[in-house]
């Protein structure tokens, strides 16, 4: 019974830590290749 309780607590803590890391983890995005250029001149003629 005691072992089961410990296992449940461990699983719960693991899930909590996982959820926190997932929500607050760094949203690092890959490097962008290329770039944006304003539409002007011939493109709007």
């Amino acid at each position: 019974m005691r072992g089961l309780r410990r296992a449940l607590v461990a699983v719960g803590l693991g899930a909590l830590v996982g959820a926190i890391l997932r929500l607050l983890g760094a949203d690092r995005t890959p490097t962008e290749h290329g770039g944006w250029r304003e539409l002007r001149g011939p493109e709007l003629r």
Partner: protein, 354 residues
Amino acid sequence: MSAPTPPTRRVAVIGAGIVGVRAIRELLSPLGGLGAGPAPTRPILVTRRPDRADQLRSSFGDAVEVRTGDRALPHDVGTVVVTRASDDQLDVVTEQLRHGRDVVSTADAPDVVSSLLGLHDTAVRSDAALVVGAAMSPGWSCLLAAHAATLFDRVDELHVARDGAAGPACARQRLRALRGTALDRRDGAWVRRAGFSGRELVWFPDPIGGRDCYRADLAEPLVLVPAFPTAARVTARLAATRRDRALAPFPVLLPPPTEGGPGAIRVEVRGVRDGERHTAIYGALDRPAVAAAAVAAVAALRVLGGDRRPGAHGLASVGGALDMLRELARRGVRAAAFEGAHSLDVDDMGPSRG
């Protein structure tokens, strides 16, 4: 396509929220090359709230006629811009069409947009033009799609993504869209997909940059599919954070802000030109309320100028996308092209053929 110029040059804006008030300001600013004849005379702004009316009267003075309640509009009003929350638009639009007025609607909720497109026969019978979804997205996105399509011999796919929301009604609609069921066009058939599915990293113009975007219940496919009958795939996605996703099932306790921060749209068009497959990507960055108001006002000025198509159509179907984009750019609402490793170099394509 063009009908005779309407005899009246007065515009009314129904809905005095953040988009409606900005639309009035756009209507007061001088006309560029859009529409023939003089600028519209003293626009009317209709609000349901007397306290808001007093506030607006002191702000606009005599330049704008501020009205309250649902009194009938004067007979010299030829064009009406409806900027109320999407759910409140259908009755107003129907009534104005029955009076034979041209209507520009900023509705972005798919069910409302679908109902408005269903008013096509009513509009044709009244010889009135109904422009559906004249906001940032749909609206500006439709103009960019129409303009990008001129680079191709055949358009195969359109993919639209949006980040941000305008006023409180728009923020509520954004949340509903993410919690709803997306409607994608795939191989000529409508396919329903769960909201918050299909995560895709989408690059918006700087400084917004990369954002995770998800399927959502958005109106773009409804207005883009009729404009691009050859497109086998039409999708729309909405930017959201992991936190939005995790908290989606729970009620929102905090009210939405009066105005959201900067928003962006990205329109990706894939197709064939000279027998080769290409991709063109256009994007735009602005405050959603500013962009939506400018698009609605420019669409109204175009209709008022006599360039109108009776019936209910999205902005990609009414024609003149280039004129409207040029007028938007003149008003400071500017678009951009993405030059990526695999995107189409629009300079190499020469001037667009639209």
